[in-house]
């Protein structure tokens, strides 16, 4: 018999970060403690910016600008980087047991299977997306959705996705600290070359409800299940209240100091292929994000591929060269080789302050 999973839809209102994140955090508890079937929660946030569990929020955001503009900020319980949320971004929370027969346990593949659900949703609109290891969905080299996950209780998994229907790049540049801060005038093109949205891909407006429906259908097809539209139980509502009070309105949580040391720097290198500019942010000894610009010849897709491959790679010559070596093709960047690019990255690391 076909399984029935729970579907909690909140498309007709914009929720606070404290409420939306608290509902998501209750999902794994319902799975683990109430033996609930898997739960899909689709919703939208008020204009807000949300950092990953172990990010340094003060380093990632311009808190004062967020306050001035009335943009909520908060910290989610899953990993990954900063996301800007709002009325044209679909927020997805999904709770399931890792031991569920449809998931089959294990770490490898969770993002493949759940990323596949998002790719299939986009296909319904005629958008051909692909999975960019290890936690992004992209269209022609531009990011359209971000994925993150955690296991907080027992074997229950919480999976998060933000899917961009439309996106406000100037807002992002105004409230986030980015490695490209010093090239603010180029900031817009830097990001518009690295991200896309459903509306940009299709050249028309899309209703949020259409997208949520497509995501729901994609879950049904991927897992061969039915959904029942559901509401939170009394127990779940109690837990949501607890998370709002003890976690998402709590300064200690939002401004948590449990994170790696965060640093940013810039490296410049003259090469036969042109000037190479690298902007880097480090989380401890790892590259958290990287932006490569300059007056060399390459394509946005190639640059995005390189930047993505280097995310969370240790910032030392051997690891960077190994990573670049495993993906490099001739003329990926015309006139620049892996050794030159590595040197520029290491210069940026040296300049981190």
């Amino acid at each position: 018999m076909m399984e029935t999973w729970r579907y909690i839809k909140e498309w007709d209102k914009l929720v606070s970060t404290a409420y939306g994140l608290s509902v998501d955090d209750t999902l794994p508890y319902s799975i683990h403690e109430e033996n609930s079937p898997p739960i899909l929660h689709l919703y939208r946030f008020k204009p807000s910016v949300i950092v990953g569990k172990y990010q340094d929020i003060r380093a990632a955001l311009k808190i004062d600008r967020c306050r001035e503009r009335g943009i909520e900020y908060n910290r989610r319980s899953t990993g990954g980087g900063t996301v800007i949320m709002g009325e044209k971004t679909v927020a997805l929370g999904f709770g399931i047991s890792m031991k569920h027969p449809k998931m089959n346990g294990g770490i490898r593949g969770i993002f493949d299977i759940l990323g596949g659900v998002i790719i299939n949703s986009l296909r319904k609109f005629g958008i051909s997306a692909s999975f960019r290891p290890k936690n992004d969905i992209e269209v022609n080299g531009r990011k359209i959705a971000g994925l993150s996950a955690s296991t907080e209780v027992g074997d229950a998994l919480l999976f998060h996705t933000s899917l961009l229907i439309d996106f406000d790049i100037p807002l992002m540049l105004d409230i986030m600290n980015t490695p490209a801060e010093k090239i603010y005038d180029k900031g817009y093109s830097c990001f518009s070359e690295r991200m896309t949205t459903m509306e940009k891909e299709l050249g028309r407006k899309i209703e949020v409800q259409e997208v949520m429906e497509a995501v729901k259908e994609s879950f049904k097809e991927t897992f061969d299940i039915n959904f029942i539209e559901d509401h939170l139980t009394q127990t779940e509502k109690g837990r949501v209240e607890w998370f709002i009070k003890k976690r998402y309105t709590c300064e200690e949580w939002i401004f948590s100091k449990r994170h790696p040391k965060f640093k940013m720097g810039e490296g410049l290198l003259k090469t036969p292929g042109g000037l190479l500019q690298v902007y880097i942010s480090l989380a401890g000894e790892l590259i958290e994000s990287l932006m490569i610009t300059g007056d060399f010849f390459s394509t946005s897709a190639n640059i995005n591929k390189i930047e993505s491959a280097l995310k969370f790679v240790p910032a030392d010559r051997r690891d960077i060269e190994n990573t670049l070596g495993s993906m490099w093709k001739e003329n990926l960047i015309y006139g620049i080789d892996t050794s030159m690019l590595t040197s520029a990255i290491l210069k940026a690391k040296e300049n981190c302050g």
């Binding site: 899953t78 294990g106 770490i107 993002f111 493949d112 596949g116 994925l147 995310k311």
Partner: protein, 150 residues
């Protein structure tokens, strides 16, 4: 020593099914994450460590490990009091990946019920069988993910 399916899993260590390892040292137990974990989960970004003095039970989550794609659990392989933690894993967040059984250890437990609890862990000849089943399970899931994308 044991290398199974490309994973270095020394069979003199004791493993919890959640991939923490335990090494008995004069009644105390040094704990870290296995090579299988670090290869599968990717580079470790941050380790949310417990405090020294905390009492933990076998199988209890006593820390969180964030990798690029995942926040995983550090599950206590034995019960007891945490008597030492390795702060260096956050000063240099690459050492769990580079040296999971050496510099990348995470904590030391003063075990309270060691003899009985070691029997609940995977050890010796059973390690290779366990890793093979883990790899098979992971491959099946991966294949399912590929189907979803076609």
């Amino acid at each position: 020593m044991g290398v199974f399916e490309g994973f270095n899993m020394p069979d003199e260590l004791y493993y919890h099914t959640e991939h923490s390892w335990a090494k008995v040292e004069n009644g105390k137990v040094r704990v870290g994450m296995s090579d299988f974990f670090q290869q599968e989960a990717g580079n470790v970004v941050y380790v949310d460590l417990p405090d020294e003095g905390d009492e933990i039970e076998q199988g209890e989550v006593c820390g969180k490990i964030q990798t690029r794609k995942w926040i995983g659990k550090l599950v206590a392989p034995v019960s007891g009091e945490i008597v030492e933690i390795n702060e260096e894993v956050n000063d240099d967040n690459t050492i769990i990946n580079k040296d999971p059984y050496g510099k990348g250890w995470v904590l030391v437990i003063e075990a309270s019920n060691l003899d009985e609890e070691l029997g609940n862990l995977i050890h010796g000849d059973k390690v290779s069988e366990w890793i093979r089943s883990e790899v098979k399970r992971a491959e099946e899931l991966k294949a399912k993910g590929q189907e979803g994308k076609e």
